[in-house]
């Protein structure tokens, strides 16, 4: 049960400050990135009208997420944001599924990962909002419905980052803690395959989709 709070860290001293690196997290993230690059390379290597199996999977992702982005943002903006949305979903999906393989851990189990993607979505959404509406209109929107509500609107926007990143983090970390505790209670005999299928494959897929859709919706709310 000592695994519950264990984090592999590398601490470097630079000019009187401690820089902390979560080594395991970085390795797992690079595994995910290289898996996605391999997938992209293999799926597009032999492009043909009669697609191979990997090309079909790639086309499926792209068709679905281009469609969803067009529904939310309109045709013109979809060209710009759909690659981001598609890549975000595929990345999070592989991240959440990584824990199914023994000895590998989900990068999304760490709050640093989910918080950075939450912040990324926040910055992109507000950048898109400023570009679409202009700075003045963007700032005036904070004073809705009346000017002294502005501080609460700002807190509300910041709370979106917290809620989106804690949702993914809580679900994935909760799943892994439950798997850990139940395996400990049953002496690792019966549980892992079933629980891994539920928390890794099922909950992981839904949460990756929810995170992606929320990022898309935050952009759409800012733009329109």
């Amino acid at each position: 049960m000592e695994d519950l709070g264990k984090i592999h860290q590398l601490i470097v001293h630079v000019m009187g400050h401690d820089l902390t690196f979560n080594l395991e997290l970085m390795i797992m993230t690079w595994i995910v990135i290289s898996a996605l690059i391999c997938f992209g390379f293999l799926a597009t290597r032999k492009k043909s009208v009669l697609p191979g199996p990997l090309q079909v999977v790639g086309e499926l992702f792209i068709t679905i997420f281009y469609g969803l982005t067009e529904d939310a943002l309109g045709k013109e903006r979809a060209k710009k944001y759909a690659p981001l949305i598609c890549a975000l979903f595929m990345y999070l999906l592989v991240c959440n599924w990584l824990g199914i393989i023994p000895h590998l851990e989900e990068p999304t189990k760490d709050l640093n990962t989910t918080l950075s993607y939450g912040l990324m979505g926040f910055v992109i959404a507000h950048h898109a909002g400023i570009k679409a509406k202009g700075l003045k209109r963007y700032l005036l929107d904070y004073c809705e419905p009346i000017f002294f509500m502005a501080p609460l609107n700002v807190i509300g926007e910041l709370a979106k980052v917290i809620s989106i990143s804690f949702r993914l983090f809580g679900n994935i970390m909760g799943g892994s803690i439950i798997i850990l505790v139940v395996s400990y209670l049953t002496f690792n005999i019966i549980t892992p395959p079933f629980l891994n299928a539920f928390f890794g494959a099922f909950v992981g897929t839904i949460q990756a989709f929810v995170f992606t859709m929320l990022t898309l919706v935050y952009i759409a709310v800012q733009v329109n």
Binding site: L152, G174, I178, V181, I206, V221
Partner: protein, 323 residues
């Protein structure tokens, strides 16, 4: 007559177990009863399908019951595990029991709604029963998320070593963490259930809209969970922040109040957000052309309904960090 610490720990374990299963039994029973009622209605409308409806009812009830099974697991652990005799184990055991017991209420009731709607939907539109079952499974599994948060908080409380922390403010922090995540899960479970119910209903009314309905359902359910996530955040801060030892009565009470404020404050907004999501999903099924407009209106309305939950979060954080 003074008792030793070990006796008090045993007392806390027993009462924590009792609370976990006692509160935990409320929700699932209501949800399952609702499902069975809907199944009866469905069979009387379309008696030929009674086999399929019966199966769907059982599957839906099994999912609605999972929150109560989490509570049963925690109650069993509290009753049959031998705990270290340390003063801080008393709030730990009570907090773990409260968190899981209260946390199971909402998810149990909520998961009953989509199961019931799926049964009536099958009677109305037997051709889509496969799609309906899938949608019901996804919807009620997402309803369980707040209960899973509560379970995680209980596990962390039970398996973390608090023996080095100072007794005085930490007891209140631990109890506050349990209360916050427990109460905070009630509304989100219920609200998520309302959204999922509308989606099952919508798919049976208009099977062609199944894809946008499921997508918006997931979005709406995700937003209903926001206040449960705030409650989880507050209980994480209460569990993992180290508080300086104190002899005063005010700091521990502030921490306890923070847990109560966030937990109870999360109930209403989540149910309100659930109503907004339910209605949006309902009308997307009937008015497919305006999915984008309806989704945007739903999200804006939910953001406004959620603002009171945000006030609770602000007050809870002030209570923890400022007072």
């Amino acid at each position: 007559m003074p008792y030793d610490i070990q006796t008090w720990v045993k007392v806390a374990a027993l009462s924590g177990g009792g609370m976990a299963m006692g509160f935990g039994a409320i929700g699932a029973a209501i949800g399952e009863g609702y499902t069975a009622a809907s199944a009866n209605e469905a069979i009387s409308r379309n008696p030929k399908l009674s086999g399929d409806i019966f199966k769907a009812m059982l599957v839906g009830q099994a999912i609605a019951e999972s929150a109560s099974i989490f509570a049963l697991v925690i109650a069993m652990m509290l009753l049959f595990t031998k705990f270290a005799s340390h003063v801080l184990m008393i709030p730990v055991l009570l907090g773990a029991g409260l968190s899981m017991g209260l946390g199971a209420i909402g998810a149990g009731v909520g998961a009953g709604y989509p199961a019931g709607a799926a049964c009536t939907g099958m009677a109305r539109q037997p051709a889509v029963s496969g799609r309906l079952t899938t949608n019901m499974l996804i919807g009620s599994a997402v309803c369980q998320t707040p209960a899973i948060f509560a379970l995680v908080v209980s596990f962390i409380l039970l398996f973390t070593d608090f023996s080095k922390s100072p007794v005085s403010p930490t007891w209140a922090a631990i109890l506050g963490a349990g209360i916050s995540s427990g109460f905070g899960a009630i509304g989100s479970g219920l609200g998520g259930g309302l959204v999922a119910q509308a989606s099952c209903d919508g798919i049976s009314r208009q099977p062609l809209t199944a894809t946008p309905v499921t997508n918006v359902m997931l979005l709406g359910q995700a937003v209903t969970q926001t206040t449960a996530i705030y409650a989880l955040l507050v209980s994480f801060i209460l569990m993992f922040k180290t508080f300086p030892a104190t002899d005063l009565i005010a700091p521990p009470m502030a921490l306890l109040a923070a847990g109560l404020c966030m937990g109870i404050g999360a109930i209403g907004p989540a149910i309100g957000v659930g109503f907004a999501g339910k209605s949006a999903v309902d009308w997307i099924a009937r008015n497919q052309e305006h999915v984008a407009d309806l989704t945007r209106l739903m999200l804006v309305g939910q953001a406004v309904a959620e603002s009171t939950g945000l006030y609770s979060l602000v007050i809870a954080l002030i209570l923890i960090f400022v007072v």
